[in-house]
Subunit: 410 residues, 2 copies
């Protein structure tokens, strides 16, 4: 067996045993593009071997999706098969686990009438609302993982041949997900335990402020009184652990909207709307971005900040050690699942309600009162590096080291 096939099988096992953590007698529902069939078949085999009763695959095909957007009449985009949405609800209520395999083509919908896209998303969103609420509330075990598409691989490695592109993206995914290790399942157990210990530590400390220092960065970020740190795998309704995103390296919460002051400099390029923004600096005063500078793509960055009122503020503060498997690939994946797990980062825009105590059931007004920002956008940008130090400052003013030289200091 080649190393590639071995890694592929370890990756499939990892998705099954750690991602959705399939239980004996459980049904596994897989959402996947038909282009990923070889991998899906390995997932199915692994799931049955782990005791799954049934593996139900819902296939999709990018080319058919595109053909429909190009050729179908307008009214086709206001409909979504309700019976299919009901099927997903039924399977969720029946205790199934859900694995989504994404192999996105970043340019799939280039040139498509945005009204059609919006209508399709709305129809799907409404039909799948109940199912989605199960996932968002962690009632069910679910997991999202990625597999190369040739279009995605071409975007990440534009200078290689088609075959090299795909192989190299596979290798990067194996590395980023620890599938290239001897025992990835064990490695993830340890990794998850580490993330949970960081989360517990930080939630215990309830720092008032984080102080970031690095070349070009001196930034103080206040945290809301009711902030909650989140990270690593969750647990479903039955108490079975699962990992909703693979890879995941971050531990994150929401900043106090009006409590960010100082300057922060990016450590990796930001791809936004098809443009690359490089070596940029943001200056904050009472949470608001008051100055924007970039060596490349400054206009794009300014337009991003001008999206709405909320896009002038931060909505996420995330801690990722510089020495992480993804960061070590040194690759821009043009895919949030990977890129946001490569480095300490912030997000411009909307905050997650679940990062505030009781936030999931709060009104917008109450979330705002508790310091959480609101915006139609949420864009992560990377600031971490081997030279970054971060201190935590407690309510009584004690300063404690959180990060030193880009890595956890506790």
């Amino acid at each position: 067996m080649t190393t590639f096939i071995q890694n592929l099988e370890k990756y499939a096992d990892l998705a099954v045993r750690v991602g959705v953590n399939i239980q004996k007698g459980q049904t596994l529902v897989v959402n996947a593009p038909i282009s990923t069939a070889d991998f899906v078949r390995k997932v199915a085999k692994s799931a049955y071997e782990a005791g799954a009763k049934n593996v139900h695959v819902e296939w999709n095909d990018d080319e058919l999706t595109r053909t429909k957007f190009d050729l179908a009449p307008d009214e086709a985009f206001n409909e979504y098969p309700v019976w299919k949405a009901k099927g997903f609800e039924e399977m969720a209520e029946g205790g199934a686990a859900f694995l989504s395999i994404v192999a996105s083509n970043p340019d799939l919908l280039k040139g498509v009438d945005p009204n059609r896209i919006a209508a399709a998303q709305k129809a799907a969103g409404q039909a799948m609302e109940k199912y989605r609420s199960y996932a968002q509330a962690d009632k069910i075990s679910w997991c999202v993982i990625a597999v190369p598409s040739k279009e995605w691989a071409a975007k990440v490695f534009p200078d290689l041949t088609e075959e090299e592109q795909t192989n190299k993206l596979w290798d990067a995914i194996f590395q980023a997900t620890r599938s290239d290790l001897e025992d990835p399942v064990q490695a993830w157990r340890e990794h998850n335990a580490t993330l949970h210990s960081k989360v517990d530590y930080l939630n215990n400390k309830k720092y008032k402020t984080l102080h970031y220092k690095a070349p070009g960065t001196d930034l103080k970020v206040d945290l809301p009184e009711k902030h909650i740190w989140i990270g690593g795998g969750g647990q479903n309704e039955q108490g079975v652990p699962f990992v909703a995103n693979m890879p995941t390296e971050e531990v994150f919460t929401t900043p106090q909207k009006d409590g960010v002051n100082g300057v922060v400099t990016s450590s990796k390029p930001l791809s936004y709307g098809g443009n690359l923004i490089e070596n940029f600096t943001l200056t904050f005063e009472n949470g608001r971005i008051i100055d924007v500078k970039a060596e490349a793509g400054e206009d794009t960055l300014k337009r991003l900040v001008e999206t709405d009122e909320g896009s002038h503020y931060l909505g996420e503060v995330a801690l990722v050690p510089h020495n992480s498997p993804i960061s070590n690939t040194n690759i821009i994946f043009f895919n949030t699942l990977f890129d946001e797990n490569a480095s300490n980062h912030f997000a411009i825009g909307n905050a997650y309600a679940f990062c505030i105590e009781g936030g999931k059931t709060m009104s917008k007004e109450d979330l705002a009162k508790n310091g959480a920002n609101s915006s139609i956008t949420h864009v992560d940008f990377m600031v971490g590096s081997a030279e970054m130090d971060i201190d935590g400052i407690t309510a009584d003013g004690t300063v404690e080291p959180l990060f030193r030289n880009g890595s956890w200091a506790f």
Copy 2:
């Protein structure tokens, strides 16, 4: 554009415009293996261009099916997703058309526990019963067509390379379905009109007996008083014509169970249960097979006849001109959709209820009273050749030529 791609597109168009005969604003549901994706995408394009509102593809995968049979626990085979069956009912009730693309692997289930297969078929059969009744009653437009799988192509052309096998099977399918003609849609209009005129002629004549003569064959086949000839495309509930099987060359009805006398000799090998039966002769007395001889596979043939009481009698008599596109390929397809349309044939075993006036709603007893045979099996075998003559004998004893030298005589 290569001839191959042209034929492929003509075949896709044919399935859409003649097979299901898609109407403006209609939804097309396609059942297809993921291995046929290239063809399915052409079908979708053709359907949208013909005015379809939506093309909904339900994908399946032979390898996943086999993996489930090999690895899933027993109880998995007693279940079928009811929500999916309901979805098919809903789409049928909503006026959708249904295209099934088969690319079978003849050996897919080799070695699988027959109890599992039976359980799975039963569960699917029960869940899909209502939907199937819509198709069987021609309430909806539906069509079955075939696309090569590499396993199927290998079975048909064992002596060629893998690439040649698939190409050659494609060519044979194009020829058999008239997709290689300049204007296949027009060719099918004419072909369908011919089949319908033969059906009308035969139903008008109400022959009492057919008399087959050819080298090694001298057989008299009585027809039940209430027999109905069937052939060519049907019409759905809205009166829209469609063709349920492509190719289709046969015009068929049921013989009078106890009214077959004489000898018939096969003109093509019969593949049954993995064995080939060659150059065989059946002798009938009052409908019952009383003697069986074969140059090869005689034991297999005897076992087939011994299956049950009904397998000692005929259940189908079908007329196909020797000079038909399928017959002219001179290929054994190991696939009923093709092989039964290659030549005049009979079937050992069960008769179709719809070949008797009012038969669809008759009890088993009434069907038997009307001369229709009943058996758990139904196996077609070929008897036609360029040397076959058939006469029709009317109730008053008039003898009229039906076939001369293997072709229609009227």
